[in-house]
Symmetry: C2
Subunit: 414 residues, 2 copies
DNA sequence: CAGTATTTTTTCGAGGCCCGAAAAAAGTCT
DNA sequence: AGACTTTTTTCGGGCCTCGAAAAAATACTG
């Protein structure tokens, strides 16, 4: 049963609304906020002057861009970049990348490092993460506010509470409780998120016109991942980060998947699967882990050159994706799709068979009208998604809660 | 962007909360409501005395069931059955059934009629519906309040706004705007809902302990339908009623489905598909429309008698369902499933292959732990779901809105 | 260049709503 | 009959939002 609305929640929610409006719109005036939120001018005036006094917002001379119209000029509100910082970290196969982000979303420090995630112990993996975050924090100017949030994106599955990495292709170890460990070491609230979910969040911030209420981000890489936004909300599983599109069944009893099962979409469309098919290996042969991006580029070149096993491999991949998307569409109705990652660079090879397959499904009825988009570089997208996730948390959980919570959060780094 | 919270919304939402608490709990005291909603005693007292004054709630001597404890006895609150009525109608193949339901959810009048939906014109179909509802309303005692809502459940797909039946297996006609027509004729707000979604809603009211935040209702009948509740909310498509589980793809390019495509789950697990396989007909042969429930019972008997094409047909059906559910679980994580309808009566024949298939999917990892339930009679379930849907609408949209809206809604039937 | 028009922002009083504490109510127990 | 216990109502205080009006800041205009 949903809880009752207490009187103080009102202010909290409306504060959150104002902060969100500023974060979204860039440089909105009070009047603009009033109209987008539906609250009265007086309320917006009161809330925004509070937020300015508390240091989250600042007024800027909008001037320049607004053509000088008649009447009192609008004064634009903006986020104060120094109001807070957050930390984002992206853990992927053999690579950890992290950054400190200011309250406006701009990075103030970053670091990236390669090591062999597949062979490290659980302990070593966690230590590398902690060490990198510590280095980043050590580099912060003294007196700067301590980061208020860590968001760690991982390939693979995290639990619904976003605290544990349940499984990941990058390591043989399971159930790594990153959130507990990082909170214990650094005393900063932490969540562990699926990388594809973060991609979806980032897409919405990048292009809200295109990616708004319903859309899908599909990562085509060594494995296949998905982030799904439905009715304006990130869709996650009930017990895990969910949305394991790559492990929907394409052909019962079919090709061997990295997950050990047979016939998953990924077993046809993951890099290793395309590579396997292109080399005419048996579908039962175990997934090759060492397929590199360069391998795949070479494969794509050969496929573009003309008919052959390479082109056939891409065709099979496209078919698997197309039918998978068709089944998904049967459940949620069609939505725009962004294909992200290395595989998106070979999208020209995939698209025809995706569309053919999709058109043969109930969900893909009007498959011509379904728009695809490709974004080859996934890392910047994931990082941006993490940043926005972390900042929205700060907005809603801390800054919206009122002056007290804001005060308490303001501890300077050592 | 979500709208701001205006001051009056507060009371509206808390009124809705109190009404919902009474509807759910049966005979709660004010104290009990205060604790389940988290609102203060004073607020509950104020709201409930308003609601009693306005006629939605009534006090009853709880007495009997509460063992006389020390202290002032609790006064139980209850819904006033005369506060309102709603109309439910269920349209399925060759059958229309409708009822008038009081504010407590009890039927006060009902009617059921058979006619040949498949051969009727669009116009005739609509007229039959209107006629039945008019007859029901004509039978109401004069002075009784006019029904405040019609919920029509249909097999097939309705639009996201729940106003148009986009497609249904019961008729060749498409895009029947039932809501517009019924509202035009009877001047009662109407929604058109998918039957399986209503089943899911009913399950939650029937057994909230088992079917709470995440569960699935699958209708096994001539076709295959699904109602899905995720995180406590009915899951619908973005443009339609959605959740077309039956048309997820089981085998690309496989058996011919009633929808005209190939390889859908329904093309293996719908009654017609089981019948087709049991009679060793080609998978390309067009779906037989005239398979009756008795046919299916006979088929099930033969399948139970021993190995043979009938048992094999059920096995294929179970496999299709199992893999389909596995793909679904990959997206949403496992949840309890209720199998409803004629096919549930033959669930003993399906379950082994469902479980075998499910165990071969990523989503079905712990398939032993996933619980199945069977409910052979779908119609009562659908009707109950419609009733609760309609009543919750009245609760939230009319009675929660305040005395004015309540007044305006109170028009006696002619 | 002073006055007018226009638009944005702030101020102020009114009306609601929720909460906590205290009081009242309605029984049981001794 | 009085003490005790639990439920429900009453009352005053504190917030919050709103609408209207005032103030502020600038462009237009003759």
């Amino acid at each position: 049963m949903s809880a009752g609305i207490r009187h103080d929640d009102l202010r909290r929610r409306n504060r959150a609304l104002v902060i969100a409006a500023v974060r979204r719109s860039g440089l909105p005036s009070r009047t603009e906020i009033a109209s987008t939120t539906g609250l009265s001018h007086s309320t917006i005036s009161a809330i925004s002057s509070d937020l300015i006094a508390e240091g989250m917002l600042a007024e800027t001379k909008a001037g320049e861009h607004a053509t000088a119209r008649r009447g009192r000029p609008q004064v634009a509100l903006t986020l104060n970049p120094k109001a807070a910082t957050v930390i984002v970290a992206v853990l992927s196969l053999n690579c950890l990348s992290a950054a400190i982000i200011d309250y406006c979303g701009e990075p103030v420090a970053e670091e990236q490092r390669a090591f062999s995630t597949a062979t490290m112990s659980k302990h070593e993996l966690v230590l590398e993460c902690i060490a990198m975050l510590r280095r980043l924090m050590a580099g912060m100017s003294p007196g700067a506010p301590k980061p208020l949030r860590i968001v760690l994106a991982v390939q693979g599955i995290s639990d619904a509470a976003a605290r544990v990495m349940l499984w990941s292709p990058i390591t043989p170890h399971r159930d790594i409780a990153f959130a507990d460990v990082l909170e214990g070491e650094l005393a900063i609230p932490t969540t562990v998120e699926n990388d594809c979910n973060m991609m979806a969040i980032a897409l919405r911030w990048r292009d809200p016109a295109r990616y708004r209420d319903n859309f899908i981000a599909i990562l085509l890489s060594h494995g296949i991942g998905m982030g799904l936004v439905i009715k304006g909300e990130l869709f996650t599983g009930t017990q895990s980060s969910g949305g394991e599109f790559g492990h929907m069944i394409h052909r019962p009893g079919g090709a061997l998947c990295r997950c050990g099962r047979r016939g998953c979409v990924e077993a046809y469309a993951g890099d290793y699967a395309i590579w396997r098919n292109a080399h005419l290996k048996n579908e039962d042969s175990p997934p090759e882990d060492a397929v590199t991006n360069t391998d795949m580029q070479a494969l794509a070149e050969r496929a573009r050159a003309g008919e052959g096993p390479e082109r056939e491999a891409y065709r099979k991949a496209g078919t698997a994706i197309g039918y998978g998307v068709g089944s998904l569409f049967a459940l949620i109705d069609p939505a725009p799709i962004a294909f992200v990652g290395g595989g998106a660079a070979a999208f020209d090879l995939l698209e025809p068979s995706i569309r053919t397959a999709l058109a043969r499904t109930a969900g893909g009825q009007h498959s011509d009208a379904i728009s695809f988009d490709t974004i080859p570089a996934e890392l910047p997208l994931i990082r941006q998604g993490c940043a926005m996730r972390a900042l929205v948390f700060v907005d809603q959980e801390i800054f919206a809660a009122g002056p007290q919570a804001v005060q308490e959060s303001r501890i300077a780094v050592a």
